[in-house]
Amino acid sequence: MSLLKKLAQKAFKKSIWVFHVNTGACNGCDIELLDILTPYYDIERFGMKAVSSPRHADALVISGPVTRPTVDFVRKVYEATPEPKIVIALGSCATAGGIWFDSYNVIGGVDKIIPVNLYIPGCPPRPEAILFGIAQAVGMSKKKIKPIIAAKVES
């Protein structure tokens, strides 16, 4: 592994670019996600920023239960994101389907479609929780639980 590669890996943690995917959310999570861009929380101080193309993204933040029409989109957007990437399921719905879990047009949580690295539960989750979650995902903050999902990603 070359020096540049190592540097790149190190830099990865300091510069997470986020692409936001809405698979059918009620916009509650989306508004909370926007909150972290505001001066109060200011996600940019961690080098994070929202991008508008999955090609540039390092993290996919998926909010909402995966509805039937959006299944293809979720797969596509996952494919369109370059490695290394992390997938963050934002909110209860994205985690496991939320209150829509048995709805006829909902598949369920995001992990039924694509591997997920991180769940941020809450309906909606607080901005602090989102920040904390992302920080955990990239290893900026120590994890409190064992990352079982990480194994799933590798498989």
Binding site: L4, S53, P82, E83
Partner: protein, 304 residues
């Protein structure tokens, strides 16, 4: 003017334009954050970004070979343009007659490289961006050309070095001041920042020309864009405001960096405080400015 001086000077130019440009970008972001009363990213953030992108996966959405080549071309041409800017001395490291035309064309090549990348990517958003970028380019390029030609007429030489020397020794006159003002007014458009960032409008066409790029290619284009900012600020500060200039090349470099910092600060202020223009508005603005700047030529002809 020996070979070693040329190499040293060239290295300094490359260093300033290419390798310091992420720092200046970081500076911009910091300033913008401060204006918006945020903390903002760390000053080296842009270096991290580029490094990170270097290590990322390189996605190929097309078999078009141009899609692979042209991002690198943009960096190459920026580097070449950097060699034509006087930083360490009145004379740039590569200094020959007629280089203002070469300079104008090389900065065009930067645009072409990005446009070809965009259009090779097969993405309609990228096409929109490419179209806008070209229009912006062809409306703003005449202003720089006219300003440089004004200098050339005044100095009686097509060398950038001679223009700077003449300007430094003779002091400003009306035509040069007018040209300077015009270049300043077009600086944002030259750099491609708000209010002239129509070709990469994130909210509107999803980064337009850059939408399909990823990994090292994206890093290159990002880097080229950052370097372009420094390059044009250097053009403005070194050619149109050459004061102060000393004998010592290190001191000159530091002065140049300081000037660039100030200009970038002003440019960031403009960027942070303005909304984006529509493409037709931008075109009209630029073409009006270009028409206005022709006055500078006539003034230069009259010798004032």
């Amino acid at each position: 003017m020996n070979t070693s001086w040329i190499i040293l000077s060239a290295l300094i130019n490359i260093f300033v334009v290419l390798f310091l440009s992420p720092f200046f970008d970081g500076f911009t972001r910091k300033v913008r954050a401060l204006i918006q009363s945020r903390v903002g990213p760390p000053p080296l953030q842009s270096y991290y970004d580029i490094l990170k992108l270097m290590g990322k996966e390189d996605l190929k959405s097309t078999i078009n070979p141009l899609f692979r080549i042209s991002p690198y071309l943009s960096v190459i041409s920026i580097a070449m343009a950097a060699l034509l800017i006087p930083i360490t001395d009145f004379n740039p490291p590569f200094n020959f007659w007629g280089d203002i035309f070469l300079f104008i064309y090389i900065i065009t090549v930067v645009g072409i490289a990005i446009i070809i990348t965009a259009s090779a990517s097969e993405n309609p958003f990228a096409y929109v961006g490419a179209s806008r970028k070209m229009m912006l380019h062809l409306s703003v390029e005449p202003i720089l050309a006219i300003a440089l030609i004004t200098g050339a007429i005044n100095a009686g030489s097509f060398k950038i070095g001679d223009i700077v020397t003449w300007y430094y020794s003779n002091g400003p006159n009306v035509s040069m001041l007018l040209a300077t003002v015009c270049v300043f007014l077009s600086l944002q458009a030259l750099i491609g920042k708000i209010p002239f960032d129509v070709s990469e409008a994130e909210q509107e066409i999803a980064e337009g020309v850059l939408i399909e790029l990823s990994g090292p290619k994206y890093a290159c284009v990002k880097w080229a864009n950052m370097s372009k900012q420094v390059l044009f600020c250097l053009v403005f500060s070194q050619i149109f405001i050459p004061w102060p200039m000393t004998e010592n090349f290190l001191l000159n470099t530091i002065i140049a960096l300081l000037k660039v910092t100030i200009i970038i600060f002003i440019s960031t202020l403009i960027e942070a405080l303005n909304p984006r223009l529509r493409i037709d508005q931008a075109l009209k603005y630029n073409l009006t400015l270009a028409g206005f700047s022709i006055t500078a030529i006539f003034l230069a002809l009259l010798g004032v």
